[in-house]
């Protein structure tokens, strides 16, 4: 089920408020996304289990979603963290060669490309949600914008603050 970002944000906002009618469309929209990311990270054999446990975490924390924040960065932060902790906790996953290269390198594979695009978009949404100074500092760090004319120490402080704000958008302690 394909829903645009605004629709996802609105549905997650409603679900966080307790509107149960938002559950079904959100479940249908988010489950394939979790499955795709899990497949890219741990391989097809284990993807269903990992995606399911990630979904449980996402929906059990739905009440914590803050209105006005973008849904996708929050969602992917939880899913990615769950995948990471499942890998770490059980140490039983044998990564497939493609998966171990990371999703960014898998540009040949259509599904991996889709995951990469979604993750990139989620990061972009999260950065866009920051205030202008923080967003510009992060973009400059990533080489997407020229460095602002600031003292090095000031710039470092601004980047550090921007990362802290970014962590909040991604769900606080969920970002490892």
């Amino acid at each position: 089920m394909s829903l645009n970002e605004a629709a996802l944000d609105a549905l997650m906002e409603r679900l966080a408020r307790g509107d149960r009618s938002a559950f079904d469309p959100l479940y249908l929209a988010l489950r394939p996304r979790a499955l795709r990311l899990a497949r890219a990270q741990v391989g097809a054999a284990l993807a269903a289990d990992v995606a399911q446990s990630a979904l449980l975490r996402v929906f059990s924390r739905a009440s914590e979603f803050e209105a006005g924040r973008p849904c996708l960065p929050w969602f992917y932060a939880i899913v990615a963290n769950q995948i990471r902790s499942e890998k770490r906790g059980t140490a039983r996953y044998v990564l497939e060669p493609l998966a171990s290269q990371g999703v960014v390198d898998d540009s040949q594979d259509a599904e991996a490309a889709l995951v990469t695009r979604e993750l990139t978009r989620a990061l972009q949404l999260a950065v866009d949600a920051l205030d202008a100074d923080s967003a510009n500092a992060l973009r400059a760090t990533l080489g997407l914008e020229p460095m602002p004319e600031l003292r090095a120490a000031t710039f470092r402080k601004r980047v550090s603050r921007a990362y802290a704000k970014l962590r909040l958008i991604f769900g606080g302690h969920d970002v490892g």
Partner: protein, 189 residues
């Protein structure tokens, strides 16, 4: 295949409901404890007896959320008004020197009237929403009752039932009337 049929859906839905319950258990004391504190100030330590009820109400409305919770916030305001009602309104037959236990002071009718009046005024003032006005109305009644019940600890059982029942009846009748009027005034499609 319907989405409700899959095991994954059921497990995920249960996780959502449990997550809401956990969040509600964390949030409800932030409302219930100040209400109890206010109750102790206005009605004495007997207010602590009804703290479990108040807590339970706020756990429930936080768990269900949405219109019910929204209505409860309005109800909380109305409940605060109720808790400030002087005893001379709730027990008009008592003069200042009457013994507290005197039977002349049992006035459920006065409590019912006072509760109904507050309920009607509140339900008339609150925007109820279109589709689920009854959830908002239930929320108002629950929110008010959660505070009014503190006042009830200083009343006799009949008066307490009268006060809470009056609130519930006032909110229900006014909300239903508003919904009916809104439906009638809506243009035919």
């Amino acid at each position: 295949m319907s989405v409700e049929m899959t095991a994954s859906y059921r497990v995920t839905r249960r996780a959502y409901e449990l997550g809401r319950l956990r969040a509600a258990l964390g949030r409800a004391p932030w409302v219930a404890v100040p209400i109890a504190g206010l109750g102790i100030l206005t009605s004495g330590r007997s207010a602590l007896l009804v703290l479990p009820f108040t807590l339970l109400v706020w756990v429930f409305v936080h768990f269900r959320g949405d219109e019910l919770l929204r209505g409860s916030w309005y109800g909380l305001l109305g409940g605060l008004v109720t808790s400030l009602l002087p005893m001379s309104v709730l027990r008009p037959c008592c003069d200042m020197n009457a013994a507290a236990g005197a039977s002349c002071c049992t006035m459920p009718g006065a409590c019912l009237g006072a509760g109904a009046l507050v309920g009607v005024l509140l339900a008339a003032a609150v925007p109820l929403g279109k589709a689920s006005w009854w959830r908002t109305a239930c929320g108002i009644a629950l929110g008010m009752a959660s505070v009014a019940v503190v006042k009830c600890t200083t009343l006799f059982a009949g008066e307490a039932v009268g006060l809470v029942g009056g609130i519930a009846a006032g909110v229900a009748v006014t909300a239903a009337a508003k919904a009916l009027l809104a439906r009638r005034s809506r243009p035919e499609v």
